[in-house]
Symmetry: C2
């Protein structure tokens, strides 16, 4: 289930290179090309799901849960599990979503700003 | 599975009042008392899970998936599903986590800032 004009689908298909840090049957993860912090990884479902509004409760539950599980694993691998990190999912225009393929940002390695959002 | 000194567990138990906007068997949601945007809701597992590092893959998958599902429902109820929103989970000191009971922020009703994090 891919979209031919979707950059993240092309990365998942191996048509566009990325710095992959995780890959399983449901989810892949790679470094953001414009990092906002020392660690900035995008955790991305392999299925083309446009955004959080398109998540189907039930059918996509395993994917949704895997996003958090991979974030936990990668935070440990990056050495930021104890220092802390922020997980962000942007949805739509006000959210600042830039790629219309759902993704969870894992950001760490510095203090996150406050107020957030 | 509650913690006696946890503010969110006390809210879930009804010992501290909150403006509840959702309640089901796994998750509750209420408005942040210090909102950073017109919509600022906290989506909280009823089980006391400290943070994303404490999520147990498998055992907590239904809870993890429900967080996104409730965010989707509430975004629709708040009228921000189309305009957009940002979902944030802070973990630990660098993440800016203030309450040691896992929660997902649903923030919308204005443009989110960039760079994020």
């Amino acid at each position: 289930m891919t979209e031919t004009d979707c950059i993240f689908c092309k990365i998942i298909q191996g048509e566009i290179p990325s710095t992959t840090v995780h890959d399983d049957e449901l989810v892949t993860a790679f470094r953001d090309i414009n990092p906002v912090a020392p660690t900035h990884i995008l955790i991305v479902p392999k299925k083309h799901i446009e955004d959080n509004n398109a998540f189907e409760a039930g059918a996509d539950d395993a994917v949704a849960a895997r996003l958090f599980a991979v974030a936990k694993q990668l935070a440990q691998a990056e050495g930021i599990a104890e220092s802390g990190y922020r997980l962000i999912m942007n949805c739509g225009s006000d959210g600042g979503q830039e790629i219309q393929h759902l993704h969870l940002h894992l950001i760490g390695g510095r203090k996150m700003q406050y107020p957030m959002g």
